[in-house]
Symmetry: C2
Subunit: 433 residues, 2 copies
C-alpha cells in the first residue's frame, strides 16, 4: 500500500483505529505486574526494559544549582529504523501506525521498527517486532546510521540508533504499515500529534538523502564548523554537570503515594503506574510506569536569513541526563517548567517567540508514547526579519541548516528537541542553503 498524500494517510490511520480497542488506566504501583518497586528504584523484573531511578544533580548552569529528581534509565541503545525503497524512481519509507499507551489519539505514525534489545530478545514478553531482521542483517544497504540522544531532562544518558536501510525486494505489509514519501510524511507534521517523536528524529537525519550535498557545501563550511566546535568546547569547559544516581525514595522534595511520585510543588512531572490493554489483531496487555508532565511545554527556533542563508538560533543547553554536558537545543526549550507563567526575562527569547507575528510553524507534537503519558509540546518556528538585530547570550549562536545537518551525523551534539524541529525542513531545499 502506497499512500501519496497527507489526506490518504489520515484516512488510513482513522480506518486502522476502528480495528482497535485501547484501554489505558492509571493504576497503583502495587498493581504493576512484572515491576519491582523498591526504595532504590522501579525496575522491570527481567532486569531489562527500563527503570526509574533517583538522580542528584549539581551544576553551575541556569538558575538552580542543585536538585534531585526521578529519571528514566535505559542502558540499551534501541533501534528507530525505517525501511526505504525506490518504487518507480521515487523513494518511499515504510511507516507503522503504532499504538502506544501514552499517545494522544492512541495511534501515531512511527518508524518501521521501534525496538530495544529487550524487545529483540522478548525479555518482557510479547512478540518480536515486525521487520526487525532487516536492521540486524549486515548485508543490507544502510542509508543512515546514527546514535542520537533522547530528552536530557527525562532520560539518563539514553540514546537510540536512528537507522534507515534500503531494500530492493518485495515486502509483505502487515495491516498497520504503509509506504509513503518524505514529502507526505513531512506534510503530516502540519497535523498536531500525528507523527511520533521517533519518526521526527529519524526524519532529521534525512537532510542529505538523495541530494548531491556533501560535507562541504560551501567554501567557508569547514571554517564555520571549526568555530562552532570551539564555541561548544568553551561551553563544555565553563559549565559543570555532576550527576549521581541515588535511591528514588530519598529524593529531596518528591512525594510518594500508591498512585504517583510527584514534586511537592506539583510542578515538573509525575511518575504514574499505568495499565494497558490494546486489542487488535493481537491482544496485548501490560503494566508500566510512565512520566506525566505537569504542563505542556514549548520548543521554538528563531530563524533568520544572514548573508542570504537561513540560520537557526541555537542554544548550548545543559540537561541533567546529557552524556556530554551540553547539546545544541532550540532557541527556546521550556519543557520542565511552566512557560506561560514564567517571567520572560528568565528565559531568553521567550517573549520574542510568543509575540512574533511570523510563526511559520506552530503545532503541537507528542513526546514518545512509550514513556510519556499524553505529553504534547508546542513546536514553533519564528522567522525574523533580515534587519532585526539580536543580542546573544554566550551560549547562543547562529547555525545554518547544513551545519546542523552535518553535526547531527555525530552523536550527542544536537538534542532531540532541536532535531525534531529540523525535521520540518527535511524537504525544504531553499532553507537548506
Amino acid at each position: 500500500m502506497i499512500l501519496e498524500s497527507k489526506k490518504q494517510i489520515i484516512n488510513f490511520v482513522n480506518e486502522y483505529k476502528k480495528t482497535l480497542k485501547v484501554k489505558i488506566n492509571k493504576s497503583k504501583f502495587s498493581n504493576l505486574k512484572s515491576w519491582e518497586v523498591s526504595d532504590k528504584n522501579i525496575r522491570h523484573s527481567s532486569g531489562g526494559f527500563f527503570s526509574i531511578i533517583g538522580l542528584d544533580v549539581k551544576t553551575n548552569y541556569g538558575n538552580v544549582f542543585h536538585w534531585q529528581q526521578p529519571i528514566i534509565k535505559q542502558n540499551e541503545i534501541g533501534i528507530l529504523g525505517f525501511i526505504s525503497k525506490i518504487i518507480e524512481d521515487k523513494r518511499y519509507f515504510l511507516v507503522q501506525c503504532k499504538t502506544e499507551p501514552g499517545n494522544i489519539n492512541f495511534v501515531q505514525l512511527s518508524p518501521t521498527v521501534q525496538a530495544t534489545k529487550s524487545n529483540y530478545f522478548q525479555k518482557h514478553g510479547g512478540i518480536k517486532p515486525h521487520y526487525l531482521d532487516f536492521f540486524l542483517d549486515v548485508n543490507k544497504k544502510v542509508l543512515v546510521d546514527q546514535i542520537q540522544s533522547e530528552q536530557g531532562a527525562r532520560f539518563y544518558k539514553k540514546r537510540n540508533r536512528n537507522i534507515v536501510v534500503e531494500v530492493y525486494e518485495e515486502i509483505k505489509l502487515k495491516n498497520n504499515f504503509f509506504w509513503t514519501s518524505l514529502e507526505s510524511l513531512v506534510d503530516c507534521l502540519q497535523i498536531d500529534n500525528l507523527v511520533n517523536m521517533d519518526t521526527r528524529t529519524v526524519l532529521s537525519s534525512l537532510l542529505f538523502i538523495d541530494k548531491k550535498l556533501t560535507y562541504n557545501p560551501s567554501p567557508d563550511f569547514g571554517f564555520a564548523t571549526k568555530q562552532l566546535l570551539h564555541w561548544m568546547v568553551k561551553l563544555k569547559c565553563n559549565y559543570e554537570l555532576d550527576t549521581n544516581e541515588m535511591p528514588l525514595k530519598t529524593l529531596d522534595s518528591w512525594v510518594f503515594s500508591e498512585n504517583q511520585i510527584k514534586h511537592i510543588s506539583e510542578k515538573y512531572f509525575k511518575v504514574i503506574p499505568v495499565q494497558v490493554l490494546i486489542e487488535g489483531r493481537e491482544v496485548k496487555e501490560w503494566c508500566q510506569p510512565m512520566i506525566e508532565s505537569a504542563q505542556s511545554g514549548l520548543c521554538a527556533f528563531i530563524i533568520k536569513k544572514i548573508n542570504n542563508k537561513y540560520h537557526f538560533l541555537v542554544q548550548g543547553k545543559v540537561e541533567c541526563g546529557n552524556l556530554d554536558v551540553i547539546e545544541m537545543a532550540p532557541t527556546v526549550q521550556c519543557l520542565t517548567g511552566e512557560y506561560k507563567g514564567i517571567k520572560s526575562e528568565m528565559l531568553p527569547f521567550l517573549k520574542y517567540v510568543l509575540n512574533s507575528k511570523n510563526k511559520i510553524i506552530d503545532n503541537f507534537q507528542s513526546e514518545e508514547g512509550g514513556r510519556f503519558f499524553r505529553e504534547e509540546n508546542r513546536n514553533v518556528i519564528v522567522q525574523a526579519n533580515e534587519d532585526e538585530a539580536f543580542e546573544l547570550p554566550e551560549n547562543y549562536i547562529w547555525v545554518t541548516l547544513s551545519q546542523l545537518s552535518f553535526l547531527i551525523t555525530f552523536n550527542n551534539i544536537v538534542n532531540v528537541q532541536a532535531r525534531n524541529l529540523v525535521s520540518y525542513f527535511v524537504t525544504k531545499e531553499d532553507v537548506y542553503g
Copy 2:
C-alpha cells in the same frame, strides 16, 4: 630564546636540569599530607585536584567480562595549552621544561601551560601557572580548541582541553621556557621520553595548522567519513559498557597495605603514595598518590599505502573510563597487561608488529608524569607493503591521516594513544595524502 634544533633543545634541557634538585620518594599512605584515605576513596582534602576511586566494570568486549579496579577520577577539564607566535614569518611554539614527579629523567618538554581548575584557583597551594592568563583571555586568537580524552584504562571519563592561542606581543620568558618550531618539536619525538604526553596530544591537533587543507581534501572524503561513523555506531551498539563507582576498599582482587594498593596477581598497576621535593628557583614540596605500572606497554599502528594514500589500521576499543563506550585506538594497544608473555593470538596484529622489519618509528614515550610513576610505553609505527593483505576483525578499519585529523577535532573519538602516535606525522605532508 628560540631553539632551532633538537640538539639545541637537548642542551637547554640538560642545562636547566643542572639548576634543579629533585627528590621523589615512595612513602606511606598515612604520610600523604593533605590527602584523605578512606574506605571509599583517596581524595585531596580541598575536594579538588583528583581522587582515586573504585570502579566495577561489566562489558561484553574482550576476554574479561567483569572486573573491578582503582581508577583516577578528575571531573575538572584541565588546560593543555600552547602559546604560538609568528616570528620572522615562521611559526613557533612556547615550550616549557616541566618537572613532574613521575617523569623519567625528571624534566620533559611540556605545553606552555598544563593546568587544572584546581591549579587556577590554587586549591592545593602553589602559585598560579605562568602564562595561564593567555588562555583565559577571550580576545586571544584561538588556533586550536578541542576537548580530548585521557587514558581510558586509568582515568574515569577524564578529559583535557587542548588549546593553542596565537600572540603578537613580546612575551618575557621564564628560565625554563623556550620557543621552537613544530619541526624541531617533532624531531624531539625521536628521543625516548623527552616530549611529554600532554605535548604529544596537542601536537596531534596541529595537522591542519598553516595548511590550506579543509575538512574536504578529497572528493570521497565525506562518503568515507560517513562510512567511518557508521562503523563506530555499529560498535557502540554491539559493545556494552556498564561502569559503577564503588568503595576502593571493597574492590575484588585488590590488596591494600600501608605503602601500596596492588592486584593480587601483581599485574596491571599499583597505587602508591609519593613524596615530592623540587628545588629550583622556587621550592615545591608535596605528597600525592600515583599510579605505577607493573610493566612497560606497547602502542603501535600498522600503516599502509592503499590507492596511493597512507592508511592507519585503527581499532575500536572499549576501555572502562571511556565516556562513550569506544574510541579509535592504535592497531595494537597493550598497556594494562604484559604483552611480552601474551599468546599472540589473543591480541590481533601483535605478532606482526613485533616481527616487522619495517618499523619506521620505534621509541619509548612517557605517560603523564603528574599521575603516572615513571611509566614508559613503546611507541611503534610499522609500515606494511602495499600488496600485503590483512584480514580485519570487525572492530578494525583502515583510516587515512586526514580522516584521523578531522575526527580529532571532535571530542572522544580518537583516543590518547592513537593521537600520540599521530603526533609523529604532524609535519609529514607526504603521509597526509
